[in-house]
Structures are given as C-alpha cells and as structure tokens.
C-alpha cells in the first residue's frame, strides 16, 4: 500500500485537482464510448414538431433546428472530439518528439533549420493557418486531424528539443558517454524517459486546445460537414438560431468547457507530480 502511495497514480489520487480532472475526463470518455447505449434518441432522428424545444424530461438538453435531440448529438460529438483530439495529439506528439530529439541531438545547422521551421509554423495564428489549410483540402474529419497535426506538432518539437539540449550536456549523460554508452542507450534509456514527463504534461494541456480547434473549424464552416454532430457544429447551429433558442449554444459550449477544465486540471496535476523542481518545493 505504501508503495502505491508513492507511484504516480497514488500521488495523483491524493491530489483533489487530479481527482476532479480524472472524474470529468472519465465521464466524458465513458459517455463518448457508450454514446449509442446512453443516447435516448438516434442522433439523426428529426422531430419536426419539437424544434427548438427547451430542456425537458423528454429532451434533456432540448432540441436543435431540425428537432434532433441535443443530448444525443453531444454524446456523438464527444466521439468526434476524442477521435480528433487523441489522434491528432498522438500523431503530432510523435512527430514533435522525433523532430525535437533530432534537433536537440543533431548538428548545429540541423538544429537551426528545425528551429526555424518550428518557429515559422508557431508564428502563424493557429486558426488562420487551419483555415488556410482547410481551404486546400476536402472537407471532413481526416482533414481536421491533418490540419490540427500541422498546427500543433511544432510546439512538441520545441519543448522536446529544449529538454534534449539541457539533458545532452548534463553530467550523467557525459558520464555515460565517458563510459562508452552507445547512442541508442543514451537516447532510449536516459534522454527519452526524462523528456516524457514534460511531453505528457504538454499533451494533456494540448488536448482541449486541439478539441477547440476542431470545434472552431466546424463553427467557422470548414470542419466536419453539416449534419455531423461535432460540438463545434452544435455551437454553430446555436449561433445561427440564437434568436430561436439559447439552449443550443449553451449545450454546445458545456462539453467544451468541461473538457478544457478536465484536461487542464490533469495537465497541472501531472506537472505538479512530474516536475522535479515543483515536487521538491512542496
């Protein structure tokens, strides 16, 4: 039991912020995964006589402009958000991890070139870059993921590069080298494990950002096609029909607020537990 207390999960379990984050995220994940079982209605079913219905026992979060149950659509939207979020974060994270380590370990000119590349990408306002890329590609979920990956991997690359550079010159790495450790051993046994802490913190903090980009693209009409129940589409429907009902825009915003809170709390809790400087200060 005492060994569990000192594990990462054990430490997170004692952090109220982490517990709250995990509860929120777990609830969202469960609802998204079991959306078909939980949803009271088919998310495409139109109830034309109940358009713009307010929340009630029949429609828990009301209905949209075509009389579709908002709660059922938000559950499906959770699937889209998690699919886009997780896929994009994993892909962009991996790209950033590899490029960041190459930049950190590579020759100076390569480091400079990659750094220039990262900074160029990061200099563009994310949503403007997303709009420009979306205009060149067919509309759909794959495009959204590609756009999000392109707009976000540079941030991982930058962080991983900085971590790698600082570790590369640390004494224990110099000692390993002096003892003749191979390049692979240094990278996979020493650098990578030490880089992963900040990397996971960034990934956790970045997930809601990615989900918000998807929602923003759908809201602006360049994300998923109409009829796809993403949270951004629900927000857009709410905006289009704000004069008819306020519930749609409130319902569309609620999961975005929750997912942002959940993953931000988780990221902060992970940072508290994984950052050695913060841990020693506690």
């Amino acid at each position: 039991m005492s060994r569990f207390r000192h594990t990462l999960i054990g430490r997170l379990a004692r952090d109220p912020l982490a517990v709250m984050a995990i509860v929120i995220i777990a609830a969202l994940v469960v609802m998204a995964v079991f959306a078909d079982l939980i949803a009271p209605y088919d998310y495409t079913a139109m109830h034309m006589t109940d358009r713009f219905a307010a929340p009630s026992a029949e429609f828990w979060l009301g209905t949209d402009n075509l009389g579709r149950d908002t709660f059922s659509r938000l559950l499906q939207g959770g699937r889209i958000a998690l699919t886009v979020g997780l896929t994009a974060v994993i892909i962009s994270g991996l790209i950033g991890l590899v490029l960041g380590m190459i930049a950190g370990f590579g020759p100076r000119w390569l480091d400079n070139a990659l750094l220039f590349f990262f900074d160029t990408l990061r200099a563009y306002p994310t949503i403007i870059l997303a709009l420009a890329l979306a205009a060149l590609m067919p509309r759909g979920l794959t495009t959204v993921i590609v756009v999000v990956v392109i707009t976000s991997f540079a941030e991982y690359g930058r962080v991983v590069r900085t971590q790698t550079l600082s570790l590369k010159h640390s004494e224990f790495i110099l000692a390993e080298r002096a003892m003749g450790a191979s390049f692979g051993r240094i990278v996979f046994h020493h650098i990578l494990p030490n880089v992963l802490g900040p990397f996971f913190i960034l990934a956790a903090m970045n997930l809601p950002v990615v989900i918000t980009i998807e929602a923003g693209m759908s809201f602006l009409g360049v994300g998923v096609p109409p009829g796809t129940p993403s949270w951004g589409s629900t927000l857009k429907d709410g905006f289009d029909h704000i004069r008819q009902t306020p519930w749609l825009i409130l319902a569309g915003g609620l999961p975005l607020i929750l997912v942002t809170l959940g993953f931000t709390f988780l990221g902060e809790a992970l940072r508290d537990q994984l950052d050695p400087k913060l841990r020693s200060g506690r």
Binding site: P225, P226, R243
Partner: protein
C-alpha cells in the same frame, strides 16, 4: 505632482457621482436604438457583394442595387406591389414594330464630373458593348435578338432586332443590360471601368468609397438631373451574407433595411424589435437541386430520376423555410407566364420509386455529393435531403462552400471543378419575364450558368421561339413545356421560390420591387 494637478489629470468621483453616472449609463442603454436613416444616412443590406464596376460585366442583384443608385436607364422598375416601369432617361419609348423600338431621350440629362449631356450615342454604345463578342458580356442573353442600335439624332434612336423579343422590356431595359454608360468616360478608361470609383455617374448617388467585403459608401450626386433626387446625404450598401448576422446588425441600429431569414418570420411578426416593421413579398427567385448530367455517376437517366424521387420537397420547405414558402413547380413563379400548376414528380417524392429506379439501373449503395452555399437555409435543406434520401438507400454527402467558391463551381473558365460536380443546390434571381429563367439552361450556357450541362434541342428551340412570340397564351404553353423537358431530363428537382421577408425601421419607407428586393433610389424618410 501637486495635488491640484493630479485632480485635473485623474478626476475623483464620490459615491453619489458614481451612482448618478451609472444610472445615466443604464438609462442610455434603455433608449431605443437610433437608426442611421434619421441622420440623413441610409444603410441597406445586400446579400451578395457587388463586385463588378462596369455594367457590361455585371451578373447579379448586388450590381443591380448599386447601379440603380448611381446610373440611369431609359426606363426603371417602379417601386410597389405590381410590376411596372416608369420613364427615366427616356422622354418616350415605343415598340414601333415586332423588330424595332424607338426612343427619345429627355434633354438636359447630365453625366457627373463634367462628362456632359447624356445622348443617344451613349445608349447605342451601352448596348453595342454588350453585343460585342470581344467584351464577352455575361448579360448578353438579356438582350436576346437585339442586333444593333441606330442613332437617329442627338436624343433619339432605334433598337433593331433580328426577331421580335418581347422580354426586352422587362429584363433588359430596366435592369442590368439597360444601365446606360458614358461613352466618353469608358473610352477615356481604355474600354472598361476598372477603377473602384466610376469616373462618372448619372444616378441620384455617386460612389464615395469602396470597402471590399464590407460596404459601398455612396453620397448624394449633386450633378443629378433626374426626377427622383437622393433622399439621403449618404447611402451605404452593406454586404452581410448571413441573414442572422444582418438581423442582429439591424437591431443594433447598424442597418435600416434587410431581408431576414424565413426562420425569423414568426418571431418578428409576433415580437418585432422596437421601431421596426416587417413586410412579406412573394419571391420570384427559384431554388432547385441540379445534377451534372455528364458526371459518370449521373449519366444514367434512371439514377437522376431516382434522385428526383428521393428528394422530399415538402420536408425541405417545412424545415428550411419554416413552412412560410410553398413548393415550386419549376423555375417560373406563380403569376408569371409559363408557371406550371404542378410538377411531374410530386413534391413529397417517392422513396420506393427511387429504389426501383436504382435497381433498374443496377446501382447499389449510391453515394453522391451535394454542393451548397454556406447559408443556414441551404445547409438545413441539405441536411433534410440527407435524411430523406437515406430512406431510398442513397448516401448524400454535403459540401459547403463560401460564396466566392460556390459561384465558380460549374464555370469552365474558373477551373476544372465542374468535372467533379455531382449535385448542387442553387438559387437564381429572377425578373418578371419567363425568358429570364430559361435563358440560363440552354446549351450555349453550359459551363457558364448551366452547371447541370443540360442540353436539349427542343428546349433550346422553345426558349428561342418563346422569346419572339408575342401571344401570351402561346408563350405560356411553350414555357410550361420547356420546364417539363427540364424535369423529364432528371437533372432538376424544383424546390421553392421562397419568400422575401423584409425588416426595416419605421422612419424609412423602403422602395422595393414587388418581389421585395430593394431599389435603393426609391427609399424615402417616413
């Protein structure tokens, strides 16, 4: 800093002053929104941005609204509930035979900025530019069989036609093609107006400034010599594509007049914003779903017919037009020559018949893509289509386009996207003559406005002959048959003509055509 100096720099409020200030701000917030029209300025919203500075390149209602304010025609549409026109530049104009129209201009009608008097030379130059093949004018169909304009005097001339062309009076003279331009100014400009501010105008307003994507700022034309002088010192034609945003802008006092969405009609009728009124007009526009007959998926007529039967027009009207519009029977609205009493395929469609047609064609799991404008009415309609077509086993994918992208989808001159075009939901503006509807679907228009790439010899002949026919009963029969041919081709599913609900401030008397579209030059203070 001495205390007195600090007091001057940072005025100190006591509690009483702060509360009084807050009360004042609150009271001000409760005052009714002041529309610009009270200040000698009028803001009219337009749903499509005028983007051509030269009438020979004009293509839509945005330009018509602008040109009505800054240019003049021989005759102009009257504002009101009945279609009629009034003499503008013309002192007289008369159909003297089936193939000639004689006109005489009013004397002393002036161009602005020192370009002198408007003469018959300007009239002839205007129409000859449109007829000139090198100008490649998109409004060439509007002038029909016009062959030339003869100048018989400084103020008089004769339009000569190869054959009779009755629509000339309704779709050319008072509209885009009939917008008289200044010969001297155009020649000075090298043959085309390419500047944002035209070198000379003749209407009650002149262009002060263009803010692309936002507004055309017009001001009173002090050189105007016509009968309807500018009512306002400044007139802004404000481009807002989205109707919901336009409603918000009007309620905030940034607009004086706008068309609103059908979905807002019930709410605005029962609870209009303070100081506003609403008017409803039957629209002449026509909305349809078109299928590209040359696309490999849609070359089999049975597949196109299956799509026609799979579309439930009633459901679309109920959802996207909130039941305030009626299903249409074709491209010609009720009240016009050629309106059909009913379509060949019932508005509710028939999913079972659609399945049978697909089975006959040997097509399974049909997936088609519908292209729509990024407009809430059209995206809603598309989603309803998606749901109802699924009942016939057809998967409908929806592609939404911004205005700029959408209006070039089927245009060959703008790239190769027309090759991949499968289905499109489209809306065309209309004038009170049926030839203005059929003109865009003839074979010659393929790759320009005819995006379905529909081609039928009988249709082309009917369009041509109906334009020269002077007997209304005969014309009526010909246009009905033309629409039957369109529908039988499987390339068209007619949806609605819609309605035009307008919202405006009570301090404005809008000038509108019978179909509700604004005529900027007629707006007056209440």
């Amino acid at each position: 800093m001495p205390k007195t100096a600090m007091h001057r720099a940072f005025p100190v409020l006591n509690r009483r002053q702060l509360l009084a200030g807050a009360a004042g701000v609150s009271a001000a917030a409760m005052l009714p929104v002041k529309a610009w029209a009270q200040e000698g300025r009028l803001n009219i919203r337009v749903y499509t941005e005028p983007d051509d500075f030269d009438p020979v390149d004009a293509s839509g209602f945005g330009e018509a609204l602008l040109y009505g304010a800054i240019y003049r025609n021989l005759i102009q549409y009257e504002s009101g509930d009945e279609w009629s026109y009034r003499l503008d530049l013309a002192e007289s104009i008369e159909q003297t035979s089936d193939t000639t129209i004689e006109f005489t201009l009013k004397e002393g009608q002036m161009w602005s900025d020192g370009y002198g008097e408007i003469t018959a030379e300007d009239v002839a130059f205007t129409f000859e530019r449109i007829l000139d093949p090198e100008m490649n004018s998109r409004i060439l169909p509007d002038v029909g069989t016009l062959s030339r304009v003869e100048v018989t005097g400084r103020y008089s001339g004769v339009f000569h036609f190869d054959e009779a062309f009755a629509p000339f009076w309704w779709i050319a003279l008072p509209y885009l093609a009939g917008t008289i331009v200044c010969k001297a100014a155009i020649e000075d400009a090298g043959g085309r107006i390419t500047t944002e501010v035209p070198p000379t105008v003749s209407g009650p307003y002149r262009v002060r400034e263009l803010r692309p994507g936002e507004r055309w700022v017009l001001e009173r034309n002090e050189d105007y010599t016509g009968d309807i002088p500018a009512e306002y010192e400044r007139l802004d034609i404000v481009y807002i594509g989205d109707e919901a945003s336009a409603e918000i802008a009007l309620e905030a006092g940034d607009l004086d007049f706008t068309e609103v969405s059908p979905g807002s009609v019930t709410r605005l009728q029962s609870n209009p914003p303070a100081g506003t009124a609403m008017s409803m007009h039957p629209s002449l526009f026509y909305v349809w779903v078109g299928m590209n007959m040359e696309h490999p998926k849609l070359q089999d007529i049975r597949v196109r017919q299956a799509l026609q039967y799979a579309i439930n027009v009633n459901a679309i009207i109920e959802a996207a037009w909130y039941g305030v519009a009626e299903p249409s029977t074709g491209i010609i609205a009720p009240g016009l020559i050629g309106n059909r009493p009913e379509s060949l395929i019932p508005p509710q469609g028939d999913p079972q018949r659609a399945r049978e047609l697909l089975a006959e064609a040997g097509v399974e799991n049909l997936q088609v893509t519908l292209n729509v404008l990024n407009d809430v009415t059209f995206t809603t309609a598309a989603q309803v289509m998606q749901a109802t077509m699924a009942q016939a086993g057809i998967q409908l994918n929806i592609e939404v386009h911004e205005s700029g992208s959408f209006w070039t989808l089927g245009v060959e001159a703008d790239g190769d996207r027309w090759r991949d075009l499968e289905m499109i939901m489209n809306r065309f503006s209309m004038l009170p003559d049926p030839s203005y509807a059929t003109a865009w679907f003839v074979t010659e228009q393929i790759g320009d406005w005819n995006w379905e790439r529909f081609s039928d010899e009988e249709f082309d002949r009917l369009h041509r002959e109906a334009g020269t026919e002077t007997d209304d009963a005969r014309r009526d029969e010909m246009y009905r048959r033309a629409q039957d041919i369109m529908e039988e081709s499987g390339a068209y599913r007619f949806i609605t003509h819609g309605v035009t609900p307008n919202l405006f401030y009570n301090n404005t008397v809008p000038g509108t055509r019978p179909d509700g579209l604004p005529l900027a030059q007629y707006f007056r203070r209440a």
